[in-house]
């Protein structure tokens, strides 16, 4: 942090004194703020890694109001920042209006497709990773019931749930998959208490592995699962370390890599739709010293085989958002 502070302080001082247009990249965090232990923080980690490796600096802003979305984009673009990276689907509307005004500037948006010639849209095949952890959950389950706890009930999260259910059913056709959403508003991303309640409710219905795709709410899910002696599955970042031996695995969504790549490519950023999936390392499951004992050889072999098949295209996982329906799970 101290290093970053220095970097940022220097750039701030430079901008204050000269207002000079530097072609440094900029990163815009959504209203959730950059230290959300999940999505935004992963983006920050990627930018930080880039800054440390290259010794260069980047600009960043945490938004305070809706009106600032457009403002931040325009001000960074006018300042000559390039590329400008933003996290979250909520920027989609604004970016499609702003991007044509700054054809010289490259933009990268994560989790949303914006069809403009100077925009790189990074989307993740979360259903593929969820499929893999769904397989693992089904193999680890003794009760024949596994659970899913989502954050806000939006198509994106249903995509997670749907992939998870397909993976679980692929291993055990008779398995019961429970699914609950925390809420219908953005507050659902940060409600660990409710996450904990939902976990208890699913345990009482027999679930012994629970997958949380719920941002900050997942912290409560993982905690309660560990307290109650069942297994949990983390999301986005590697969350295995949070309760060693109690977290079966984590579905990795490498937002950090997406940000890192965008900043590394710099002004020559390749535009278009960039799909990050199991095939190109954008999506994976986490295996480290904290969950080695939980993931046996047999499980690892089976999952890696499925991973290879997904990567080669031999196995397709149904994407909920492609037709708003899921073969293995009802919402």
């Amino acid at each position: 942090m101290t290093f970053m502070h220095k970097v940022l302080a220097t750039t701030a001082a430079m901008a204050l004194s000269a207002g000079a247009a530097l072609a440094e990249p900029a990163l815009i965090f959504d209203l959730g703020g950059k230290f959300d232990k999940s999505f935004n923080e992963a983006a920050f980690a990627g930018a930080q890694r880039w800054a440390e490796e290259t010794g260069k600096s980047f600009r960043e802003i945490e938004l305070q109001s809706e009106a600032q979305r457009e403002q931040a984009l325009r001000r960074f673009a006018e300042n000559g920042n390039n590329p400008i990276v933003m996290t979250g689907f909520a920027f989609g509307n604004v970016l499609s209006e702003v991007a044509p005004d700054y054809p010289e500037t490259k933009f990268a948006i994560i989790d949303m497709v914006v069809d403009e010639p100077n925009v790189r849209s990074v989307v993740f095949n979360e259903h593929e990773g969820s499929y893999l952890v769904g397989m693992m959950a089904a193999m680890a389950s003794d009760s024949g019931t596994v659970g899913f706890i989502g954050g806000m009930d939006i198509p994106l999260i249903r995509k997670f749930a749907c992939g998870y259910a397909q993976g679980a059913k692929a291993v055990n056709g008779d398995i019961t998959v429970l699914s609950n959403m925390t809420g219908t508003t953005p507050a659902a991303w940060n409600d660990p208490v409710k996450g904990s309640e939902l976990t208890k409710a699913q345990i009482s219905q027999g679930a012994d592995v629970i997958y949380a795709a719920a941002g900050g709410t997942g912290v409560g899910v993982l905690q309660t699962a560990a307290d109650e002696g069942i297994l949990s599955v983390g999301v986005d970042s590697n969350q295995n370390y949070m309760h060693p031996g109690k977290v079966l695995t984590s579905m990795l969504k490498r937002v950090d890599n997406a940000v890192y790549d965008a900043m590394t490519q710099g002004e020559a950023l390749e535009t278009g739709i960039n799909v990050m999936g199991v095939g190109n390392g954008g999506i994976d499951y986490a295996l480290d010293e904290h969950n080695e004992a939980l993931v046996g050889e047999a499980m690892k072999t089976a999952v890696d085989e499925a991973k290879g098949k997904i990567a080669s295209g031999e196995l397709t996982v149904h994407d909920y958002t492609s037709d708003d329906s899921c073969p293995d799970l009802n919402f």
Binding site: Q64, S65, P155
Partner: protein, 364 residues
């Protein structure tokens, strides 16, 4: 007898409060290792020196004018309407329903209708607490703040379950039709050679807010109803004795207040986002309280205070963009101004009154 001249009350007290707040803010900025002078320059530069900066300052100011007037009108009837947030939330729903379900040929007609929709929904939301206050004696502060939460939950439900387009991630309505989009300052003031107010959200509702300031002034000081409201606010028993119905004045003052708060949604919903989003009010209902306090509940004071707070918001955004000052500290700076100009009013006023009294005694 006035303890100090009118100009001192209207100008000197807010000014000294502001300076005190600025000094404390500077200390805070020094505390985190930044340069307060540079930060202040950046705020002025970003908010007042560029036309786009003004565009944002006036955009925020428009919100604060409406909510500030709302609080001011209720305040003249000695009621503390802290439900501006909820009334504005409902106002947004009114705007969205009018614009989504009726095809409008031109933005001017759409704006008129949306104004009515916003005002009606805001007024309805204020009516229930007003009725409870007038007839049942339920304290308006308690009921209005509770209604803020109900409004937020209600809008949630409506957006998520009824108005959200199929498959959308955001809890928001679809975009309003093209014909209802309001002209922004850029559309109004740019010539072919120079583009002014580029990308700024300020729009024609700013003028509506200015007109609202005028109308509220006329209403309060030039009509019988305004006289009744003020008389009721000064002394309920005297007003009753003069034949003014407390129930009627309570309800009417709150209806006007709610309508004004609801109209704030025109700016954010029809003007800026051009669709109804969950977080359209963004705390402007609460800032309105500070604006009304600082503006001494006078429409002209509200106008000036709203612009000051608009400056603080836009300047704060500039700080967030170009410095290392975290957004939490920007909120602290904004809160310090509110604290000094709104809550700690007497801290400046009382010593100042003593100074003026001493001066007068010397003269005498």
């Amino acid at each position: 007898m006035d303890r100090m001249p009118h100009w001192a009350d209207a100008v000197l007290v807010p000014l000294i409060s502001l300076i005190l707040a600025a000094i404390l803010s500077a200390l805070v900025i020094i505390g985190i290792g930044e340069d307060p002078v540079a930060a202040f320059n950046l705020m002025v530069e970003g908010a007042l020196m560029r036309s786009a900066g003004w565009g944002y300052t006036l955009y925020y100011a428009t919100n604060f004018m409406f909510t500030g007037l709302a609080v001011a009108v209720a305040f003249h009837a000695r009621m503390f309407n802290i439900g501006g947030e909820g009334q504005a939330t409902l106002g947004g729903l009114g705007v969205a329903l009018v614009l989504l379900y009726i095809p409008w040929p031109h933005w001017s007609l759409a704006l008129l209708a949306a104004t009515l929709g916003a005002a009606a929904f805001g007024a309805i939301w204020a009516f229930i607490p007003a009725y409870l206050q007038a007839k049942r004696g339920s304290h308006i502060v308690i009921t209005t703040i509770m209604f803020n939460f109900i409004a937020a939950a209600f809008l949630n439900y409506v957006l998520v379950n009824l108005l959200r387009p199929q498959g959308a991630m955001d809890p928001a309505t679809e975009k309003f039709p093209e014909a209802t989009h309001l002209p922004t300052f850029r559309d109004m003031f740019s010539s072919a050679e120079t583009i002014m107010f580029r990308g700024a959200p300020a729009n024609v509702t700013f003028f509506l807010a200015v007109i609202a300031c005028l109308v509220v002034w006329l209403l309060l000081w030039r009509t019988r109803l305004g006289y009744e409201i003020r008389a009721f606010g000064h002394s309920e028993s005297a007003a009753k004795y003069a034949g003014i119905s407390p129930v009627r004045i309570t309800v009417i003052a709150m209806l006007i207040s709610g309508a004004l708060a609801g109209m704030m949604a025109l700016n954010t919903t029809q003007g800026e986002s051009e669709r109804l989003i969950l977080n359209a009010t963004e705390g402007a209902g609460f800032i309105g309280i500070a604006v009304a306090l600082m503006g001494r509940s006078h429409p002209f004071g509200v106008f000036l205070a709203a612009i000051l707070f608009g400056f603080l918001f836009q300047g704060g955004a500039e700080l967030a963009l170009w410095t290392n000052i975290p957004r939490e500290l920007i909120v602290v700076i904004q809160a310090l101004v509110i604290l000094f100009t709104g809550a700690l009013d007497n801290m400046v006023r009382m010593p100042l009154e003593r100074v003026f009294l001493a001066l007068r005694r010397k003269e005498g």
